[in-house]
Symmetry: C2
Subunit: 226 residues, 2 copies
Protein backbone atom coordinates (compact mmCIF):
# COMPACT_ATOMS: atom_id res chain seq x y z
CA UNK A 1 0.00 0.00 0.00
CA UNK A 2 1.19 3.52 -0.66
CA UNK A 3 2.07 5.45 2.40
CA UNK A 4 0.95 8.93 3.20
CA UNK A 5 3.77 10.88 4.73
CA UNK A 6 4.17 14.63 5.07
CA UNK A 7 0.45 15.01 5.29
CA UNK A 8 0.49 12.54 8.14
CA UNK A 9 2.16 15.13 10.28
CA UNK A 10 -0.92 17.32 10.29
CA UNK A 11 -2.83 14.76 12.31
CA UNK A 12 -0.26 14.81 15.06
CA UNK A 13 -1.46 16.35 18.33
CA UNK A 14 1.08 19.08 18.87
CA UNK A 15 4.62 18.48 20.00
CA UNK A 16 6.24 15.80 17.85
CA UNK A 17 8.02 17.65 15.09
CA UNK A 18 9.56 14.60 13.49
CA UNK A 19 8.11 11.27 12.55
CA UNK A 20 10.65 9.51 14.74
CA UNK A 21 9.58 11.27 17.90
CA UNK A 22 5.97 10.70 16.99
CA UNK A 23 6.70 7.00 16.68
CA UNK A 24 8.44 7.09 20.03
CA UNK A 25 5.25 8.35 21.60
CA UNK A 26 3.17 5.58 20.05
CA UNK A 27 5.59 2.78 20.81
CA UNK A 28 6.23 4.08 24.31
CA UNK A 29 2.56 3.96 25.09
CA UNK A 30 2.27 0.41 23.83
CA UNK A 31 5.11 -0.66 26.07
CA UNK A 32 4.04 1.19 29.19
CA UNK A 33 0.46 0.01 29.00
CA UNK A 34 1.64 -3.52 28.38
CA UNK A 35 0.13 -3.83 24.91
CA UNK A 36 3.64 -4.81 23.91
CA UNK A 37 4.69 -7.44 26.42
CA UNK A 38 8.09 -7.76 28.12
CA UNK A 39 10.53 -9.74 26.01
CA UNK A 40 8.49 -9.27 22.86
CA UNK A 41 10.66 -8.73 19.78
CA UNK A 42 10.14 -5.41 18.04
CA UNK A 43 10.70 -6.16 14.38
CA UNK A 44 11.37 -3.28 12.07
CA UNK A 45 9.10 -4.54 9.33
CA UNK A 46 6.19 -5.11 11.68
CA UNK A 47 6.43 -1.58 13.01
CA UNK A 48 6.80 -0.16 9.52
CA UNK A 49 3.65 -1.94 8.54
CA UNK A 50 1.78 -1.02 11.71
CA UNK A 51 2.48 2.69 11.54
CA UNK A 52 3.15 3.10 7.83
CA UNK A 53 6.58 4.61 7.95
CA UNK A 54 9.88 3.60 6.45
CA UNK A 55 12.80 1.94 8.16
CA UNK A 56 14.76 5.05 9.01
CA UNK A 57 12.35 6.58 11.49
CA UNK A 58 11.52 3.18 12.93
CA UNK A 59 15.13 2.41 13.78
CA UNK A 60 15.57 5.95 15.02
CA UNK A 61 12.65 5.69 17.38
CA UNK A 62 13.75 2.33 18.70
CA UNK A 63 17.11 3.86 19.52
CA UNK A 64 15.34 6.62 21.39
CA UNK A 65 13.38 4.12 23.41
CA UNK A 66 16.61 2.30 24.12
CA UNK A 67 17.92 5.50 25.62
CA UNK A 68 15.03 5.56 28.03
CA UNK A 69 15.61 1.94 28.92
CA UNK A 70 12.21 0.71 27.76
CA UNK A 71 13.67 -1.63 25.16
CA UNK A 72 16.70 -3.87 24.98
CA UNK A 73 18.93 -4.32 22.00
CA UNK A 74 21.43 -6.84 20.72
CA UNK A 75 23.47 -6.44 17.56
CA UNK A 76 21.97 -8.23 14.58
CA UNK A 77 19.26 -9.53 16.83
CA UNK A 78 17.25 -6.39 17.07
CA UNK A 79 15.12 -4.83 19.75
CA UNK A 80 12.91 -6.35 22.42
CA UNK A 81 10.63 -4.92 25.04
CA UNK A 82 12.54 -4.80 28.29
CA UNK A 83 11.67 -7.42 30.85
CA UNK A 84 12.07 -7.26 34.60
CA UNK A 85 12.99 -9.66 37.34
CA UNK A 86 11.76 -9.17 40.88
CA UNK A 87 15.30 -8.22 41.83
CA UNK A 88 15.38 -5.59 39.10
CA UNK A 89 12.25 -4.07 40.46
CA UNK A 90 13.47 -4.01 44.03
CA UNK A 91 16.73 -2.43 42.92
CA UNK A 92 14.85 0.05 40.80
CA UNK A 93 12.69 1.27 43.66
CA UNK A 94 15.67 1.38 46.04
CA UNK A 95 17.55 3.48 43.55
CA UNK A 96 14.61 5.80 43.04
CA UNK A 97 14.27 6.23 46.78
CA UNK A 98 17.96 7.10 47.17
CA UNK A 99 18.05 9.47 44.25
CA UNK A 100 14.86 11.27 45.11
CA UNK A 101 16.12 11.50 48.66
CA UNK A 102 19.25 13.20 47.37
CA UNK A 103 17.18 15.61 45.33
CA UNK A 104 15.12 16.65 48.33
CA UNK A 105 18.22 16.91 50.47
CA UNK A 106 19.66 19.37 47.99
CA UNK A 107 16.65 21.62 48.48
CA UNK A 108 17.81 22.66 51.94
CA UNK A 109 18.28 26.38 52.40
CA UNK A 110 16.59 27.35 49.16
CA UNK A 111 13.43 29.37 48.59
CA UNK A 112 10.64 26.92 47.92
CA UNK A 113 7.50 29.03 47.46
CA UNK A 114 6.89 28.37 43.77
CA UNK A 115 7.82 24.72 44.15
CA UNK A 116 5.32 24.26 46.95
CA UNK A 117 2.63 26.07 44.99
CA UNK A 118 3.21 23.84 41.96
CA UNK A 119 3.17 20.70 44.05
CA UNK A 120 -0.07 21.82 45.63
CA UNK A 121 -1.61 22.28 42.22
CA UNK A 122 -0.43 18.88 41.14
CA UNK A 123 -1.95 17.34 44.23
CA UNK A 124 -5.24 19.07 43.63
CA UNK A 125 -5.40 17.73 40.10
CA UNK A 126 -4.42 14.30 41.33
CA UNK A 127 -7.18 14.38 43.91
CA UNK A 128 -9.66 15.27 41.18
CA UNK A 129 -8.49 12.28 39.16
CA UNK A 130 -8.94 10.08 42.19
CA UNK A 131 -12.46 11.32 42.76
CA UNK A 132 -13.47 10.70 39.16
CA UNK A 133 -11.63 7.39 39.12
CA UNK A 134 -9.44 8.58 36.25
CA UNK A 135 -6.57 6.11 36.28
CA UNK A 136 -4.63 7.57 33.38
CA UNK A 137 -4.84 11.05 34.85
CA UNK A 138 -3.86 9.83 38.30
CA UNK A 139 -0.83 8.09 36.79
CA UNK A 140 0.20 11.15 34.81
CA UNK A 141 -0.24 13.57 37.70
CA UNK A 142 1.76 11.34 39.96
CA UNK A 143 4.61 11.51 37.49
CA UNK A 144 4.28 15.27 37.20
CA UNK A 145 4.61 15.63 40.98
CA UNK A 146 7.88 13.72 41.04
CA UNK A 147 9.18 15.42 37.89
CA UNK A 148 8.51 18.82 39.39
CA UNK A 149 10.50 17.87 42.46
CA UNK A 150 13.44 16.74 40.33
CA UNK A 151 13.37 19.82 38.16
CA UNK A 152 13.81 21.97 41.25
CA UNK A 153 17.17 20.45 42.04
CA UNK A 154 18.91 22.20 39.13
CA UNK A 155 21.20 19.20 39.13
CA UNK A 156 21.61 18.07 35.56
CA UNK A 157 23.36 14.74 36.11
CA UNK A 158 20.90 13.64 38.76
CA UNK A 159 17.96 14.81 36.67
CA UNK A 160 19.11 12.80 33.70
CA UNK A 161 19.60 9.74 35.79
CA UNK A 162 16.21 10.14 37.42
CA UNK A 163 14.57 10.52 34.03
CA UNK A 164 16.10 7.22 33.06
CA UNK A 165 15.13 5.44 36.26
CA UNK A 166 11.60 6.77 36.10
CA UNK A 167 11.24 5.79 32.48
CA UNK A 168 12.45 2.28 33.12
CA UNK A 169 10.04 1.83 36.00
CA UNK A 170 7.12 3.26 34.06
CA UNK A 171 5.65 -0.05 32.89
CA UNK A 172 5.98 -1.45 36.38
CA UNK A 173 4.18 1.46 37.95
CA UNK A 174 1.50 1.42 35.30
CA UNK A 175 0.84 -2.22 35.99
CA UNK A 176 0.86 -1.57 39.71
CA UNK A 177 -1.76 1.09 39.32
CA UNK A 178 -3.86 -1.08 37.01
CA UNK A 179 -3.87 -4.16 39.15
CA UNK A 180 -4.29 -2.48 42.48
CA UNK A 181 -7.33 -0.82 43.88
CA UNK A 182 -6.94 2.89 43.35
CA UNK A 183 -6.20 4.29 46.79
CA UNK A 184 -5.53 7.69 48.24
CA UNK A 185 -2.20 6.52 49.59
CA UNK A 186 0.12 8.14 47.07
CA UNK A 187 -1.96 11.27 47.31
CA UNK A 188 -1.68 11.33 51.08
CA UNK A 189 2.06 10.82 50.89
CA UNK A 190 2.37 13.67 48.46
CA UNK A 191 0.40 15.96 50.71
CA UNK A 192 2.55 15.11 53.71
CA UNK A 193 5.71 15.73 51.65
CA UNK A 194 4.45 19.16 50.65
CA UNK A 195 3.52 19.90 54.25
CA UNK A 196 7.04 19.05 55.41
CA UNK A 197 8.52 21.24 52.70
CA UNK A 198 6.21 24.08 53.70
CA UNK A 199 7.64 23.84 57.23
CA UNK A 200 11.14 23.74 55.63
CA UNK A 201 11.63 20.41 57.36
CA UNK A 202 13.78 18.88 54.64
CA UNK A 203 14.76 15.82 56.64
CA UNK A 204 11.12 14.90 57.22
CA UNK A 205 10.25 15.47 53.57
CA UNK A 206 13.12 13.27 52.57
CA UNK A 207 12.09 10.48 54.93
CA UNK A 208 8.49 10.70 53.81
CA UNK A 209 9.50 10.48 50.16
CA UNK A 210 11.67 7.47 50.68
CA UNK A 211 9.01 5.75 52.76
CA UNK A 212 6.52 6.50 50.00
CA UNK A 213 8.68 4.93 47.31
CA UNK A 214 9.74 1.97 49.40
CA UNK A 215 6.13 1.20 50.26
CA UNK A 216 5.39 0.95 46.56
CA UNK A 217 8.46 -1.21 46.17
CA UNK A 218 6.84 -3.92 48.24
CA UNK A 219 3.62 -3.76 46.28
CA UNK A 220 5.43 -3.83 42.94
CA UNK A 221 7.72 -6.69 43.93
CA UNK A 222 4.67 -8.70 44.93
CA UNK A 223 3.14 -8.16 41.52
CA UNK A 224 6.18 -9.60 39.81
CA UNK A 225 6.78 -12.46 42.23
CA UNK A 226 6.53 -15.94 40.74
Amino acid sequence: MTKQRRTDTSRIPALPRTLSSHLVGLLRRQIITGAYKPGQPLREQDIEAEFGSSRGPVRESLRMLLQGGLVEYAERRGFRVRSYTVLDIENLYDLRASLEGMVIGSLAGQPLETLIADLHDSNRRMAACFDTNDLEGYFTENQIFHDRLIAESGNRPISEVMVYVNEVSMPVRYRLLRETLLSRRSLDYHERIVAHLARADIAAARGETQEHILYNKQAAALLYAV
Copy 2:
Protein backbone atom coordinates in the same frame (compact mmCIF):
# COMPACT_ATOMS: atom_id res chain seq x y z
CA MET B 1 35.09 8.06 -4.19
CA THR B 2 34.12 4.46 -3.91
CA LYS B 3 34.00 3.15 -0.41
CA GLN B 4 35.28 -0.14 0.73
CA ARG B 5 32.84 -1.69 3.15
CA ARG B 6 32.49 -5.33 4.09
CA THR B 7 36.21 -5.72 3.55
CA ASP B 8 36.66 -2.84 5.92
CA THR B 9 35.51 -5.08 8.70
CA SER B 10 38.65 -7.14 8.45
CA ARG B 11 40.78 -4.23 9.58
CA ILE B 12 38.78 -3.77 12.73
CA PRO B 13 40.51 -4.83 15.93
CA ALA B 14 38.13 -7.41 17.24
CA LEU B 15 34.80 -6.56 18.78
CA PRO B 16 32.83 -4.19 16.57
CA ARG B 17 30.60 -6.34 14.47
CA THR B 18 28.76 -3.47 12.86
CA LEU B 19 29.92 -0.27 11.26
CA SER B 20 27.81 1.71 13.71
CA SER B 21 29.53 0.34 16.77
CA HIS B 22 32.88 0.80 15.09
CA LEU B 23 32.02 4.43 14.49
CA VAL B 24 30.97 4.78 18.09
CA GLY B 25 34.44 3.74 19.12
CA LEU B 26 36.10 6.26 16.84
CA LEU B 27 33.81 9.15 17.70
CA ARG B 28 33.91 8.33 21.38
CA ARG B 29 37.66 8.53 21.38
CA GLN B 30 37.63 11.90 19.64
CA ILE B 31 35.25 13.26 22.25
CA ILE B 32 36.96 11.82 25.31
CA THR B 33 40.41 12.93 24.25
CA GLY B 34 39.07 16.38 23.44
CA ALA B 35 39.83 16.21 19.72
CA TYR B 36 36.17 17.09 19.35
CA LYS B 37 35.61 20.03 21.67
CA PRO B 38 32.61 20.60 23.94
CA GLY B 39 29.78 22.32 22.13
CA GLN B 40 31.14 21.42 18.72
CA PRO B 41 28.40 20.49 16.24
CA LEU B 42 28.63 16.97 14.89
CA ARG B 43 27.31 17.20 11.36
CA GLU B 44 26.22 14.03 9.69
CA GLN B 45 27.81 14.85 6.38
CA ASP B 46 31.14 15.75 7.93
CA ILE B 47 31.30 12.45 9.76
CA GLU B 48 30.19 10.54 6.68
CA ALA B 49 33.01 12.17 4.77
CA GLU B 50 35.56 11.70 7.55
CA PHE B 51 34.95 8.00 8.03
CA GLY B 52 33.51 7.12 4.65
CA SER B 53 30.22 5.66 5.73
CA SER B 54 26.64 6.47 4.90
CA ARG B 55 23.96 8.25 6.87
CA GLY B 56 22.46 5.24 8.57
CA PRO B 57 25.44 4.16 10.61
CA VAL B 58 26.42 7.74 11.39
CA ARG B 59 23.06 8.63 12.88
CA GLU B 60 22.95 5.27 14.58
CA SER B 61 26.30 5.83 16.23
CA LEU B 62 25.43 9.35 17.30
CA ARG B 63 22.32 7.99 18.97
CA MET B 64 24.47 5.49 20.80
CA LEU B 65 26.74 8.25 22.01
CA LEU B 66 23.67 10.18 23.07
CA GLN B 67 22.68 7.22 25.16
CA GLY B 68 26.03 7.40 26.94
CA GLY B 69 25.58 11.12 27.46
CA LEU B 70 28.66 12.17 25.50
CA VAL B 71 26.67 14.17 22.98
CA GLU B 72 23.63 16.40 23.14
CA TYR B 73 20.83 16.48 20.63
CA ALA B 74 18.06 18.81 19.58
CA GLU B 75 15.47 17.97 16.97
CA ARG B 76 16.30 19.36 13.56
CA ARG B 77 19.36 20.96 15.03
CA GLY B 78 21.45 17.86 15.24
CA PHE B 79 24.11 16.64 17.60
CA ARG B 80 26.79 18.48 19.56
CA VAL B 81 29.56 17.40 21.82
CA ARG B 82 28.33 17.72 25.37
CA SER B 83 29.66 20.62 27.37
CA TYR B 84 30.02 20.93 31.12
CA THR B 85 29.63 23.66 33.69
CA VAL B 86 31.54 23.58 36.96
CA LEU B 87 28.27 22.79 38.69
CA ASP B 88 27.68 19.84 36.35
CA ILE B 89 31.05 18.47 37.25
CA GLU B 90 30.55 18.84 40.98
CA ASN B 91 27.15 17.19 40.73
CA LEU B 92 28.61 14.45 38.59
CA TYR B 93 31.29 13.55 41.08
CA ASP B 94 28.88 13.75 44.00
CA LEU B 95 26.56 11.39 42.19
CA ARG B 96 29.36 8.99 41.37
CA ALA B 97 30.45 8.99 44.99
CA SER B 98 26.95 8.21 46.22
CA LEU B 99 26.28 5.52 43.67
CA GLU B 100 29.60 3.79 44.05
CA GLY B 101 29.09 3.98 47.79
CA MET B 102 25.78 2.18 47.36
CA VAL B 103 27.42 -0.47 45.24
CA ILE B 104 30.05 -1.18 47.84
CA GLY B 105 27.47 -1.16 50.58
CA SER B 106 25.58 -3.88 48.73
CA LEU B 107 28.64 -6.09 48.85
CA ALA B 108 28.24 -6.72 52.56
CA GLY B 109 27.92 -10.37 53.52
CA GLN B 110 28.92 -11.72 50.14
CA PRO B 111 31.93 -13.81 49.19
CA LEU B 112 34.49 -11.48 47.67
CA GLU B 113 37.49 -13.68 46.82
CA THR B 114 37.34 -13.44 43.04
CA LEU B 115 36.45 -9.77 43.18
CA ILE B 116 39.47 -9.02 45.34
CA ALA B 117 41.74 -11.08 43.11
CA ASP B 118 40.53 -9.21 40.03
CA LEU B 119 40.94 -5.83 41.69
CA HIS B 120 44.45 -6.83 42.73
CA ASP B 121 45.29 -7.69 39.14
CA SER B 122 43.86 -4.42 37.93
CA ASN B 123 45.95 -2.55 40.47
CA ARG B 124 49.07 -4.39 39.42
CA ARG B 125 48.51 -3.46 35.79
CA MET B 126 47.74 0.09 36.81
CA ALA B 127 50.99 0.27 38.77
CA ALA B 128 52.88 -0.95 35.72
CA CYS B 129 51.30 1.80 33.65
CA PHE B 130 52.31 4.32 36.27
CA ASP B 131 55.90 3.10 36.25
CA THR B 132 56.17 3.31 32.47
CA ASN B 133 54.32 6.62 32.43
CA ASP B 134 51.61 5.12 30.22
CA LEU B 135 48.79 7.63 30.58
CA GLU B 136 46.33 5.88 28.30
CA GLY B 137 46.87 2.61 30.08
CA TYR B 138 46.56 4.21 33.48
CA PHE B 139 43.29 5.80 32.43
CA THR B 140 41.92 2.56 31.06
CA GLU B 141 42.94 0.47 34.05
CA ASN B 142 41.43 2.97 36.40
CA GLN B 143 38.13 2.55 34.60
CA ILE B 144 38.43 -1.22 34.68
CA PHE B 145 38.85 -1.13 38.44
CA HIS B 146 35.65 0.80 38.95
CA ASP B 147 33.77 -1.22 36.33
CA ARG B 148 34.75 -4.44 38.04
CA LEU B 149 33.42 -3.14 41.32
CA ILE B 150 30.11 -2.21 39.75
CA ALA B 151 29.76 -5.51 37.96
CA GLU B 152 29.99 -7.29 41.30
CA SER B 153 26.83 -5.66 42.56
CA GLY B 154 24.58 -7.72 40.30
CA ASN B 155 22.29 -4.72 40.42
CA ARG B 156 21.15 -3.99 36.91
CA PRO B 157 19.52 -0.61 37.40
CA ILE B 158 22.44 0.76 39.37
CA SER B 159 24.92 -0.66 36.90
CA GLU B 160 23.18 1.00 34.00
CA VAL B 161 23.07 4.29 35.79
CA MET B 162 26.72 4.04 36.77
CA VAL B 163 27.69 3.25 33.20
CA TYR B 164 25.96 6.44 32.18
CA VAL B 165 27.51 8.56 34.89
CA ASN B 166 30.96 7.18 34.21
CA GLU B 167 30.59 7.71 30.50
CA VAL B 168 29.48 11.29 30.93
CA SER B 169 32.41 12.06 33.19
CA MET B 170 34.90 10.38 30.89
CA PRO B 171 36.07 13.52 29.06
CA VAL B 172 36.42 15.33 32.37
CA ARG B 173 38.54 12.60 33.87
CA TYR B 174 40.65 12.29 30.77
CA ARG B 175 41.37 15.97 30.86
CA LEU B 176 42.09 15.79 34.57
CA LEU B 177 44.62 13.06 33.97
CA ARG B 178 46.18 14.90 31.05
CA GLU B 179 46.58 18.22 32.76
CA THR B 180 47.67 16.92 36.12
CA LEU B 181 50.98 15.39 37.03
CA LEU B 182 50.52 11.65 37.02
CA SER B 183 50.49 10.66 40.66
CA ARG B 184 50.14 7.45 42.57
CA ARG B 185 47.17 8.82 44.42
CA SER B 186 44.40 6.95 42.62
CA LEU B 187 46.52 3.84 42.78
CA ASP B 188 47.02 4.20 46.53
CA TYR B 189 43.30 4.73 47.02
CA HIS B 190 42.52 1.61 45.04
CA GLU B 191 44.92 -0.42 47.10
CA ARG B 192 43.42 0.80 50.35
CA ILE B 193 39.94 -0.01 49.05
CA VAL B 194 40.98 -3.55 48.20
CA ALA B 195 42.65 -3.89 51.61
CA HIS B 196 39.42 -2.87 53.35
CA LEU B 197 37.45 -5.34 51.25
CA ALA B 198 39.96 -8.08 52.07
CA ARG B 199 39.25 -7.43 55.76
CA ALA B 200 35.53 -7.46 54.93
CA ASP B 201 35.34 -3.94 56.32
CA ILE B 202 32.68 -2.71 53.95
CA ALA B 203 32.09 0.57 55.75
CA ALA B 204 35.75 1.51 55.48
CA ALA B 205 35.87 0.52 51.81
CA ARG B 206 32.84 2.63 51.20
CA GLY B 207 34.29 5.64 52.96
CA GLU B 208 37.59 5.26 51.16
CA THR B 209 35.86 5.10 47.80
CA GLN B 210 33.80 8.17 48.41
CA GLU B 211 36.80 10.07 49.70
CA HIS B 212 38.69 9.00 46.59
CA ILE B 213 36.03 10.27 44.24
CA LEU B 214 35.36 13.48 46.15
CA TYR B 215 39.06 14.28 46.18
CA ASN B 216 39.04 14.11 42.40
CA LYS B 217 35.92 16.25 42.39
CA GLN B 218 37.89 19.16 43.78
CA ALA B 219 40.65 18.75 41.24
CA ALA B 220 38.22 18.45 38.35
CA ALA B 221 36.15 21.44 39.44
CA LEU B 222 39.31 23.50 39.57
CA LEU B 223 40.13 22.56 36.00
CA TYR B 224 36.81 23.82 34.75
CA ALA B 225 36.66 26.94 36.89
CA VAL B 226 36.56 30.15 34.82
